[in-house]
């Protein structure tokens, strides 16, 4: 069932989700995205450039965060605008467990043409990892 514009109001909360990320996830994402920066897979290199550990691709985190919106609305093509600021890296320890990206979202504004702005909050390890994370989506 597609979400109708008429059913939502400012403050409507989207179902929150948690997304695990391990070293294996990052290797897979590197391959699929073509971003082979060693800070995402080579611990020695990451430490040498002053990072706490291998970190997740910012674009991976951005891809996870919008799933809260696309899973809610059903049609990923209904997203008409999506932007984030990368505020903190997501360190991914090599312990087989990795990290978890937690995402919440709520309707921040109702716009013209049955569009709404969803404000997303993404955290990992208690730290906010995305800032100004917003998607505009057209509802049925």
């Amino acid at each position: 069932m597609a979400i109708s514009f008429d059913e939502v109001e400012v403050g409507t909360e989207l179902p929150a989700q948690s997304f695990p990320v391990t070293r294996a996830t990052l290797v897979q994402y590197a391959g699929a995205s073509g971003d082979f920066n060693p800070i995402h897979w080579n611990e020695k290199f990451a430490l040498e450039v002053g990072l706490p550990d291998v970190i997740a691709h910012g674009m991976f985190t951005m891809a996870e965060a919008v799933r809260v919106v696309t899973d809610w609305v059903g049609d990923p093509g209904a997203v008409v605008e999506y932007g984030v600021r990368f505020t903190k890296p997501v360190p991914v320890p090599n312990d087989g467990v990795g990290a978890v990206i937690e995402v919440t979202g709520k309707v921040g504004a109702l716009l013209e043409d049955r569009k709404v702005r969803v404000d997303l909050v993404a955290t990992s390890g208690g730290q906010k990892v995305l800032g100004m994370s917003r998607a505009v989506v057209r509802l049925a």
């Binding site: 391959g31 008409v80 932007g83």
Partner: protein, 152 residues
């Protein structure tokens, strides 16, 4: 030395078309763990009104980042890529990317500023399909950290 602001407004030639394949979309969706059927099942995508499977919202970065390499590697600009981090990213979509698209990217430098010794570069990529129709605009901010702050 700060980047030369006279590069603001510079536009690079359109990239050679990138052909979006169904399997590439599927691979990307699997890599981000996203099981939405619109990415892998043509019938599901058609039910939503698309001619073929569509790509996840952040997929266009694969193409626009590659295209932004023209700026990053421009010897006249002289950006030190080893110090570059991704500051922010925005997409504005006319329609989702779909399998069968042949996408060309026209990259421009929208802004250059210096903040606390860091070079902040705004790079816009306009993505058009084989008919010349607009698909998506990507705007990314790249931050080249000041040399004495390496290892932040």
């Amino acid at each position: 030395m700060p980047l030369d602001p006279s590069f603001i407004g510079r536009t690079y030639p359109p990239t050679a078309p990138y052909e979006v394949g169904r399997e590439k979309i599927r691979e990307f969706a699997v890599a981000v763990g996203d099981a939405n059927p619109a990415y892998a099942d043509q019938e599901a995508a058609k039910a939503l009104g698309y001619p073929d499977v569509i790509a996840p919202p952040t997929f266009p970065f694969v193409i626009t980042y590659q295209a932004a390499g023209q700026v990053v590697a421009d010897p006249e600009l002289g950006l030190d890529f080893t110090r570059v981090v991704h500051g922010d990213q925005k997409f504005v979509y006319t329609r989702p990317v779909q399998a069968g698209d042949r996408l060309a990217v026209t990259v421009s430098i929208d802004n250059i500023k210096s903040l606390a010794g860091n070079d902040v570069l705004t790079v816009r990529g306009e993505v058009h399909d084989q008919s010349g129709e607009h698909v998506v605009t990507s705007v990314m901010t790249l931050v080249a950290r000041a040399a004495d702050e390496a290892g932040e």
